[in-house]
């Protein structure tokens, strides 16, 4: 008995960077809310949220402070109880100033109707439509890092039907362990969350994909999954970028999402495992998304940890709790080392998309010297989308947008595997990102 030992993976490309999962044995530690939180209004993909509170307003934990008015937009709730100090602008991770709500903490008072106990509630009372409504009102977004509003993803077009719910527990980014710890510590809750999602999507099968470097999590969830019908746990070979939606679908179902299409085209909906937990809390406990698990790690960090933090906590506080900023730190990355971006200063707050904070020392953070392309085609071999990064990068370098567009730059998932593999250290990802923004602009202008 037991699960089949066969490990699945996707076919095209991929690489296996050094894992460096230093924090995988540190249990999730709760961090008390700081005295002042900075809740950014651009926490989700799509349109920014619109504040509904003003300076001087009293708010409770979990109270709605900003609503998502546009189609792709999400609500934001207060992570602390206290007084709104101001609705202003604050530097986000990119250094640009974005709208923010600053709240001073006073006490620890929860908004009415939120169940703060630890008790597990298995029975799902809400109906399909109610579930999606609750998810929308709770401001839940994809917690893997992309922060796409979940309720939009769950609203399936009339002419399509979902067949599989795929739970992304791959965590293929090196260093990060927040999903791993969550699976070990909140396995039951995640399963209920998956059941809720299955009900919302009206599907009978759910597959949880976990990479094989988290064997304890595979075993643990497999054990629990036996109690629930329709949920299977599938081990996956360790290969980056398996956590990318299209790659994961291919690995688990052998279906390939066509270029420029969404996963629903092949009957799949992918949700992150952290999102499943957040959905459990929202639907069963009426608790909106006000906190998340963040991994704080790095080779020199004295105490690599996983923290449960309130949204809006400054990053500096997390680094302090993890043993302080090591001497000779060069870069701090928001997200994983492959796809994350360096942050401008450590006073920026945690947002819904902050899956990890990785501290690099001076030497690690420096780019290697760029040499000429030697036409080895390694970038082409590792590209999980089957693109030719060297060609696209050269096209961008000489502003040959036609070639770049024809060679499907818009399919690029910005995983950075090409950049990571290049023996000449060419800035392929930079050029591809530039290409995506430029070609996107051209395509949009053509439509108008």
């Amino acid at each position: 008995m037991g699960r089949p030992k066969m490990l699945k993976t996707f076919k095209i490309g991929g690489a296996h960077p050094e894992e460096n999962k230093f924090s995988q044995h540190s249990t999730i530690e709760e961090i008390a809310a700081p005295d002042t939180v900075f809740v950014m209004m651009n926490q989700n993909l799509g349109a920014p949220s619109v504040p509904v509170v003003a300076k001087g307003d009293k708010v409770k934990i979990g109270q709605l402070i900003a609503k998502g008015e546009a189609f792709i937009s999400a609500a934001v709730h207060s992570p602390v109880s206290g007084t709104v100090e101001k609705v202003d602008f604050w530097t986000d991770t990119t250094g640009y100033r974005k709208p923010v709500i600053v709240i001073n903490k006073e006490g620890e008072e929860w908004a009415e109707g939120i169940d703060t106990s630890d008790a597990l509630i298995k029975e799902i009372k809400a109906s399909k439509d109610e579930i999606i409504e609750i998810i929308k009102n709770s401001g839940i977004v994809g917690l893997g890092g992309a922060t796409f509003p979940t309720h939009v993803k769950l609203a399936i077009p009339q002419d399509k039907t979902a067949e599989y719910l795929i739970i992304n527990a791959v965590e293929c980014e090196p260093y990060l362990t927040s999903d791993h710890r969550l699976m070990l510590e909140k396995g039951e809750e995640i399963m209920v969350g998956v059941q809720i999602l299955m009900k919302a999507l009206n599907v009978s099968q759910a597959i949880i994909g976990i990479e094989n470097n988290k064997e304890d999590a595979i075993q643990h969830l497999d054990e629990i999954a036996k109690k629930y019908s329709g949920i299977t746990v599938q081990g996956l070979k360790v290969k980056y970028p398996q956590g990318a939606e299209k790659q994961l679908i291919e690995a688990l179902t052998k279906r390939r999402v066509p270029s420029g299409k969404l996963p629903i085209e092949v009957g799949c909906v992918v949700q992150n495992v952290g999102t499943a937990y957040a959905i459990y809390e929202a639907v069963q406990k009426n608790k909106p998304l006000i906190e998340r698990v963040v991994t704080v790690t790095g080779k020199k960090v004295s105490k690599p940890s996983n923290f449960r933090v309130r949204i809006g906590t400054p990053v500096s506080m997390l680094i302090e709790k993890a043993g302080g900023l090591p001497e000779g730190s060069g870069k701090i990355i928001n997200g994983g080392p492959m796809m994350g971006k360096a942050i401008i200063n450590i006073d920026v707050p945690v947002t819904k998309g902050t899956s990890g904070i990785v501290v690099f020392d001076e030497k690690e953070s420096k780019r290697n010297v760029v040499a000429n392309c030697i036409r080895c085609a390694r970038c082409t071999m590792v590209c999980p989308m089957g693109l030719q990064p060297f060609l696209l990068a050269a096209g961008m370098e000489f502003d040959n947008f036609e070639v770049v567009e024809k060679n499907n730059v818009m399919d690029c998932i910005e995983c950075g595997t090409c950049h990571y593999t290049c023996p000449s250290n060419r800035p392929l990802l930079d050029m591809l990102r530039l290409g995506k923004s430029k070609i996107g602009e051209i395509i949009r202008s053509r439509k108008n």
């Binding site: 530097t91 990119t94 250094g95 640009y96 100033r97 971006k341 360096a342 401008i344 200063n345 420096k366 780019r367 800035p427 930079d430 050029m431 990102r433 530039l434 923004s437 430029k438």
Partner: protein, 287 residues
């Protein structure tokens, strides 16, 4: 002998037949082009820079002949002289424009806006702009990676290594506007050259509140509004904490330059002021 004769006759007759066909085709499918297009194209500089809004000089010539008038059509590279020549060919009235020059509206040099972080990615402003606010922290300021210099076809720009800012070589600048389009932060503006090249402009595009802007850059426009008050010609407007001088209204009196508390307003090609500098020079010489 007769074989050679036959060959000559056959070849000649084949040639004649094809010649007649080609002549017929030419008559039938002849493209009648206005000869003035060639004349106009001849006059144009032939730089194909796109400054007029068309892909190349010939496209512009076609457009101008087709339009039959010269409203809104202007070759900034050729300037008034060439445009006048074209107007003579077409027999219409020429639009005259004051000669313009590209102006860098940012003075965030290494000294004025010290770097807080280090960027070591691709040397492209258009990319760095999407990634972060840049090394100085100013979200509107010059990134110093030289997209504008790259775009200039007339060797009219270079990066000053000591300040990290681009410099426009006035004599080479044709005001084609390529750099204006290349700059992702909309720092570069085409402004009237002014009499003897004299001009005054606000060398800042930062729209943040004064205190925040000042934190990142010593010479930022803080939106205090002093220049607006002091200007006798109503040429300065204040929008989003940023002053803008309308070059059509500005009479170059330089009152705003001395009033600006952060020296964000620059004067170009003016003779040195007699006041402070001259006095100090005098005292120096006495000593």
């Amino acid at each position: 002998m007769s074989t050679i004769f036959l060959a000559v006759v056959v070849l000649a007759s084949v040639g004649l037949v094809f010649a007649i066909i080609i002549y017929g085709v030419d008559l039938k499918f002849q493209v009648i082009e206005d000869p003035r297009i060639d004349q106009v194209a001849e006059l144009l500089p032939g730089a194909n820079c796109g400054g007029c809004g068309y892909a190349g000089c010939r496209n512009f010539a076609e457009a101008i002949v087709k339009a039959g008038n010269m409203d809104n059509l202007f070759c900034p590279v050729g300037g008034n002289a060439i445009v006048k020549g074209i107007s003579e060919i077409l027999g219409v009235e020429a639009t005259e424009r004051a000669p313009q020059v590209a102006v860098i509206r940012c003075n965030g040099s290494f000294a004025n806006a010290p770097s807080k972080i280090k960027y070591d990615g691709v040397s492209r402003c258009s990319f760095a702009n999407t990634l972060s606010s840049g090394e100085t922290g100013c979200p509107n300021g010059c990134l110093g990676l030289g997209d504008c210099v790259e775009s200039c076809q007339f060797d009219a720009m270079y990066m000053d290594k000591t300040t990290g800012l681009p410099i426009v070589i006035e004599d080479n600048c044709t005001s084609c506007g390529a750099c204006v389009k290349a700059c992702p932060r909309k720092i570069i503006e085409l402004r009237n050259k002014g009499p003897k090249g004299k001009r005054i402009f606000v060398s800042c595009v930062n729209t943040e509140k004064g205190a925040i802007a000042k934190k990142n850059c010593a010479v930022a426009c803080i939106g205090c509004g002093k220049c607006v008050k002091v200007c006798p010609h109503d040429s300065i407007t204040m929008l989003n904490n940023l002053a803008y001088i309308d070059f059509n209204k500005c009479k170059l009196c330089r009152k705003c330059v001395s009033e600006c508390p952060t020296s964000a307003i620059l004067e170009i090609n003016f003779p040195l002021r007699k006041t402070a500098e001259a006095n100090s020079e005098n005292t120096n010489s006495v000593n």
